[in-house]
Structure formats: structure tokens, C-alpha cells
Symmetry: C2
Subunit: 483 residues, 2 copies
């Protein structure tokens, strides 16, 4: 075997291809032990580091695996390659360059959340201590066998659950028919169904910037674009809507008007009216993601856009995740019947409906008042936690950061004064057992921001984390002068 030293293909790539060919031809079948790094380097007349780079790549492809002391073996020959070809397609994001660094960070977070002992300072979920485990076990104990429906479910979800949801919606000013409600496996799935069911490839969503939506990939994965509107303390600013619609062919607006993720901002009633008016004028439908609504700490937020809207222009999303249990995976979408019909059809084609056990538990929780009671409890607890975090920030960050105290939801959107590399900060914090959600996850430009959550970590943990964080920020800021 001769490598081509004049080729533009780097040597390590040539070594990689050489081994790939051996494997794919079957010459080195699955289970075959590879020659040692040294002997490969010798026989190909390259540095050992070149061989190592190639082997690492092949291991990442899932083709080979090194065992401690046991040498390297071929473990696969086709699937790895199939899987490998994909990220390129799936990753066919419009803003590809923009997301490269986020995706691995999110996967890292998903993983690190399950490391024992981690202090999760950015997590968008309630601490297990705030989940109604006892109450839930009680609920299950009383499950009458006759009521459980273990079969495939109705396309739009269990009718009794939809009745409870409609009652719940009524209480927040949304009147709707049961046929206009679709039960989904969490709000995230609602977004996924919308992306594959209602929007063209190449559509543009107009949304707040920053936004939760930048941290997930359902829309971009389907080749959709985002255009971010600025947000102030009154919420999304709609003045540019019309411009953006024209300029970027915006086809739909996505907003989190109540306790916005990640900024915590509540859109004022006035702003809501303006947004509705502007969208009506521009014929732009609105997705209202309202999963944090019931998490108000000081006063309930203004009426929903959906409730204020007269023209069927709003598709409304709610969820049990933020109050009761994310593990249940129960959410809902409410909109005009034909849209809901379409989404229900796609839901059936995706997973034949949400878990009947979860639907039953959700119905019971709403019907028996467990949800409402627990919401009160969670609000109380979160209020104390928010106040704790606010105090800690006052104490440790007042000279190096700025923030607004949120009036609900889970998050403080912290702006650091020193300009430090968010990836470095993330990694350093991780090394210290602290899991962060850097602002860049929600807006590539938000390099100085952190989304801090007071919903997960316990008071003592928060204290420890905030102290360490200050230290890390100071260290990373290094010489930079802080004013």
C-alpha cells in the first residue's frame, strides 16, 4: 500500500480510507484485530500520530473499537457508515455554521444531567423535590381497573382528558370545542408536528431573539429559517414584523409571551394587542407557546393571545411538564379544527398517540384538583427559590453582571460584564460539577449571557454554585477590567 504524498487528501484521511476499504471489502471482517499502531505506521511509512488520528475517526464512525490492553478490533461494517452519512443531511440547517457548536453542547447537557452530584444551574425542569411523587402514587393506587384504557387511543387523545383540558383552558379565558384540542406527548412534540405538518420546507419563522426555539432543532432540521425580533421588558417588539415578513418571507410567528424562555419577560397586555393586530394585518398566524403560564410568582400574566384573538389566528400550546411532571409527556395544542385535524393525522402517523397511562394520569390530576393544588405549592416554592437566587446574585454578581428579577417561570437571564468565552466557562463549570446553560444556546450572539434556573438546584447547591461561578468568571476574565 502506497499513500499519495502529493495528494490534497491529508495523510490521516488516506490511512482512514485504506482501513475503511479493508473493512468494507470484508478482508478485515467484524471481530478482526487490527495491526498495532506502530506496525501500521511502519508499513504505511507515516507518523504514529497520523495513524492515531485515522483510528480515532474510525472509532467515531463506530467501525472499530479499542480495548484497554486488548488492541483495536473491527466492530462494524455498514451501519456505522450509514449513520455517518447522516449528520451531514440532518444537519442541513439553514444556519448550519451557527449551530455547530450548540448541538454538541446540548447533547453534553442531556448527558451530564444524569451524572451523579451535578449541580444543574440551567435546567428547565423542576427539582424532583418539587414533583408530586406522593400524590401521584396515591392517584395510581386508586386507579379503577375499568377506567384504564390500554388499547390504541383516539387520534386527538382521550376524550375525558380533552374535557379536562378544555375546562382548564376555560379558566384562562380560552373557549374551545373538544375537536379543536389535540393531546400531544409534550409541547416539544407539538412543535415537531407543526414543523412537519403545517410549514413548507424553507419557511421562515419570526420569533423572539433569544428564544428556546434556537436551542432545539425541529424547525431548522427541516430547512426552516429563523428571523429574530428584539425583545424588551414588555415582550417581543412587533414593529418590524411587517418588514421582516416581506424581507424574509416570514410565514408564521412563534412567541413565548408569558415568562419567556430564556429571558423571563412577560409580554404586557398592550403589547399582546399590538402583536395580534399586526399579525392580523400581515396575515401571519401565531404559535403561542404558553408552557410557563401557571408559574406566575407575583401576579398572573395577562390574558393569552389565543383568548384575545377573534379570528382563529393563534395556535396555542400548553403542557403539564413545568408544573406536574415532565416525565408524563402530556401537552396540548389548540387551534382551528382543520389545523388540529391535520396535526392529529400526523400524530397518528408518528406514534399512534400519547401514552394512555399518561393521559389517564393527566386527566385525573386535572379532574381531582391535584394539578391546581400542586401549582399553588410550586409557585410558593419557586418564589422562595427565586428570592434566594436573587439574593445570591446581589451578593456575588452585582459587580460583574446585570439581570432582571423574573416575575414567574424558571429563569434569570444573566448578562456577564466580562467578555469570556462561553464554551470555556461551560467546560470549566462542568469540571467543577456545575451544569450551565450558556446564552449562546438561545441566541448565537448572546455570548455574555447565562440562563440560570432556580427551579432545580437546592438552596445550598445554588449557593455553592454561585460562589464557584463567580470565581470561575473572575479567573476567566483574567486581566480584563471590570467596571
Amino acid at each position: 500500500m502506497e499513500l499519495d504524498r502529493n495528494s490534497t487528501i491529508p495523510l490521516h484521511r488516506q490511512v482512514e480510507n485504506y482501513i475503511k476499504k479493508k473493512i468494507s471489502s470484508g478482508e478485515w471482517a467484524v471481530g478482526t484485530k487490527l495491526p498495532s499502531q506502530r506496525s501500521l505506521a511502519d508499513s504505511l511509512a507515516v507518523n504514529r500520530s497520523t495513524v492515531i488520528t485515522a483510528l480515532e475517526e474510525l472509532a467515531a464512525l463506530g467501525l472499530i473499537e479499542g480495548r484497554h490492553g486488548g488492541g483495536t478490533k473491527v466492530i462494524n461494517n455498514t451501519w456505522g457508515l450509514v449513520a455517518r452519512r447522516k449528520p451531514a443531511d440532518w444537519g442541513n440547517y439553514v444556519e448550519a455554521g451557527r449551530y455547530k457548536s450548540n448541538l454538541p453542547m446540548i447533547r453534553k447537557i442531556n448527558e451530564a444531567e444524569f451524572y451523579p452530584g451535578m449541580i444543574r444551574m440551567g435546567t428547565g425542569e423542576l427539582s424532583p423535590a418539587l414533583l408530586p411523587n406522593e400524590r401521584f402514587a396515591g392517584l395510581l393506587k386508586n386507579a379503577p381497573s375499568g377506567l384504564l384504557s390500554l388499547g390504541y387511543q383516539e387520534p386527538k387523545g382521550d376524550i375525558r382528558l380533552r374535557e379536562e383540558i378544555s375546562r382548564h383552558l376555560m379558566a384562562i379565558g380560552i373557549q374551545t370545542e373538544l375537536s379543536s384540542i389535540l393531546v400531544v406527548s409534550g409541547a416539544l412534540q407539538a412543535l415537531q408536528l407543526i414543523s412537519i405538518g403545517l410549514l413548507d420546507h424553507g419557511s421562515t419563522l419570526i420569533l423572539e431573539k433569544p428564544s428556546y426555539l434556537y436551542s432545539i432543532h425541529v424547525f431548522q432540521s427541516l430547512g426552516m429559517r429563523f428571523v429574530g425580533l428584539p425583545i424588551d421588558s414588555d415582550g417581543m417588539r412587533p414593529e418590524k414584523l411587517s418588514d421582516y415578513k416581506k424581507q424574509y418571507q416570514g410565514s408564521i410567528v412563534y412567541t413565548i409571551p408569558s415568562f419567556h424562555n430564556p429571558t423571563g419577560v412577560v409580554m404586557t397586555e398592550k403589547r399582546r394587542r399590538e402583536l395580534l393586530l399586526e399579525c392580523g394585518r400581515e396575515r401571519l398566524p401565531i404559535i403561542e407557546d404558553d408552557v410557563y403560564r401557571d408559574l406566575w410568582l407575583d401576579a398572573p400574566p395577562p390574558c393569552t393571545l389565543k383568548g384575545m384573538d377573534q379570528s382563529g389566528n393563534v395556535l396555542y400550546i400548553g403542557s403539564l411538564s413545568k408544573i406536574l411532571s415532565p416525565g408524563l409527556r402530556i401537552g396540548w395544542v389548540v387551534g382551528p379544527a382543520p389545523v388540529i385535524d391535520r396535526l392529529a393525522d400526523i400524530k397518528m402517523q408518528s406514534d399512534y398517540g400519547a401514552s394512555s397511562l399518561s393521559q389517564w394520569a393527566a386527566e385525573e390530576s386535572l379532574r381531582t384538583g391535584l394539578y391546581e393544588e400542586h401549582a399553588c405549592f410550586v409557585r410558593e416554592q419557586l418564589k422562595a427559590r427565586r428570592d434566594d437566587l436573587a439574593e445570591l446574585l446581589d451578593q456575588y454578581f452585582s459587580d460583574i453582571a446585570a439581570w432582571r428579577i423574573p416575575t414567574g417561570g424558571f429563569y434569570v437571564w444573566l448578562k456577564l460584564v466580562p467578555k469570556i468565552d462561553p464554551h470555556l466557562l461551560f467546560e470549566e463549570a462542568l469540571r467543577h460539577g456545575i451544569l450551565l446553560n450558556p446564552g449562546v444556546m438561545y441566541d448565537r450572539g448572546a455570548r455574555q449571557y447565562l440562563r440560570l434556573s432556580y427551579a432545580y438546584a437546592a438552596s445550598e447547591e445554588m449557593k455553592k454554585a454561585i460562589r464557584i461561578l463567580r470565581k470561575l468568571v473572575m479567573e476567566l476574565a483574567g486581566g480584563e477590567k471590570i467596571t
Copy 2:
């Protein structure tokens, strides 16, 4: 308003556009009552039937709604149009013409399944009488609150559930690491994740013809093609694999080797070896959909392809739906770790994992032996049901149809002798309270076939249905001579 009577645009379409413009301009706002059909017809100088056609179209678009006695009102002004634009895209199936008639039929079936009193003769699910409601309620009663994990779940699914699944797999000859198992919300979701995560737009799947896969749209919706291989009493015939791979750029094989849906065929061990060999040679990965495996009635099927495979070429799919509870929505995919990692990542992006309550119940069912015990019970019951159906067919269909007696699963693949229109038969049966799954759902060419299921309808219902069916077939066959 003048209609253009020389235009190539039909008059009813012009009327439709006229009304659309009124609505979209806001002149006829949401809530506005439309002029009566008569007065519209008069003022536009068209027949009333033209107006009616236009109004029906607008109602289908979700823009207007007629109320009994109350006239017709504008109910929507943008969403309806958005939703309308979509079916055309989503329906961008490669074999579009082929599926047009199936999609409405399937939606009709999904809907009609919930009509009271329907006899479901084609349904792919166990009768509620065969579901373990009592046992399940017992299981829930003993739920220790500490064990319920109500938070977001690990990307690949609860580790204890994966342990139980791996034990279950071991018993059928599949040895695997926990990191190579992904818990999904039913086998259907596994297929959806594969379609969006592993296959290119434009990929071709090689599969049995007929197949369950023709009845769902996850793959075609993403622009993938199907190439059907013939199936005989030994299973899929792999001889043409190599030809088809070349000719159609086949990129993956999908098979249901055990109690194939809809034919009930079991692939012999010999055929399994041939298929593996052929796929290995052609470097074609295999998706093994094995959701019916535990439903053997006479003897267990041969070893899984996954268990026989040495090279990591098989992605294996299982589910609790067909034995324990479809409503749980719990299934699994097993394959090489990098593939499973990729699918887990996409699962997280789709719905943040399966219901924790369902995962817990699934784990308990497997761990406590409830699953195995219930499988025995179901096998016994299904055996009796199969024998009943076989007897009924002997009695009522021996002169007008041919079939094989299945050795497991849910289905008899019935071939009618008279060539009657399957859509007519479906509709007529529906009018008589019988829900059928016509063969065309599984292969456009299988116009003479019905997929009969002995899993759902009770013995008496089956009897009634088969009697009526014979009558309908004879009537629809009309003059046709039956030999």
C-alpha cells in the same frame, strides 16, 4: 361582481375565490353571516349548485361553517389557508397516485374504530377483553412513590427498563449492551426515527410486498421509495435483492420475518440465513420488525435475524403493543451503539423521551413476569379465536376465497375469488357495521385481498360479520361466476 364566463377557471372556483377575497380582505370578518345560497346565486348569476360547490370547498378549507338553520358563517381567515396549502406537500409521496385512496381509507378506519357497535374485523390490536386491565390496576396500586420518576428521562430511556428489555432479548437469543437499546414510544416511532435519522431523502427501502409499511406514510412522506419483493410461504424471497439494489438504488431492507403483517407468514430459518447472507454480500442493512414474535400459536418462530447476525447489520424493533398494551406506547430498537446514539438524539429532539409512567409500568410488567404470564394467556386465547375464524371461513368462504391458516400473529390474508371493488366492499361493510382492512392498504395491487384479524372481535361478532361479509361479497360480485 362579474364572473368571467370565458375563463378556463370553472365558475364554482371563481365564486370560491370571490368569497375568499371578501374574507381575506376583512370585508367579511370572522363571525360574519354569509348571504343565503339563493341570494349569492342570484347576485352572481350562477346556479345554486355552483354556489353550493364553492361553499363546500370553503368549508373544507375551514374558512366557513354552516349551522343547521342558522345559515353559514365565516369562522376563520388565515389558518385554514395555511393548513390547506400543506396536504399537497406532505402528500408529496413518491407513489402519490398509489396512496391517494389509501390515506382517506386509513383515516376513515382510525375514526370508525371509535364508533360504538362497530365490528372490527381487520384491526391490528387485541380486544380489550384480552388486555390485562385487572393485573395492571394491581401493578399501579403497588407503585412505591419513590420509584416513580416524574422528571425528564435519560435519552435512551430508563436504565431499569433497558435492563429488563435486555433480559427479555437474551431469552430470544439477542445479546446486547444497554447502550445499544433505545426505548421508543411504540414500534411506529422507531420507524419514524429511522426515516428521519438514518435515511436520505430519496432512499429506497426493499421490503415484502404486501407489507404493513405500505399502510403507513412515515417513509413515503419523506420522499422515500419502496421496492417490493415477493413473499412465499417461507417468507421474503431474497433472490432479487441484488438486482433490486442495483436497479432501484435500494439502501435498506425492511422485513417482518415473524407472523408477517398482513400475510401471517413466518420466514423459515433457512430463508433467514439466505437473507442475511445476501444482505451481507450486498452491504444492505436490515430493519427487522419483530413486534409479533411472542404471538406464536403453535410453535415459536425461528431465531431472530438480529440473533443470527454476526456483523451488526440488523436493526431490531420490538414492542409491548401486541401482547400487553398498545396504549402504553412502549417499544425498543436495538442496534450498533452509534446508530442507537443517533436515534436517541433524534428522539430527544422529537419529544424528550417516552412517558416515564409508561416506562415504569413496562419495566414492572417485564420484571414481575406479568408480561410473560399474559403472553401465555393471550396465546391461548388467540389460538381459540384463530380456530374459530378458520372454521367460519371454511363454512362461509370456502367457495369464494382462499387463505392460509396462520401459525401466529393476528391475521388471515384472505384472497377473494370474485373481483370486486375493494373500496365498495369497504364502504358497504361499514354501512353494515363491519370495519374491514382491505388488502389494497398493504399493496395497491392486492385488490382481491382482505386482512382479517381474529384478535379483536368477539366470537359471536366474528360469526355475524363473516356471515354478512359473505352476503356482501356475493351481492357485489353480482353476475360474476364463482368457480
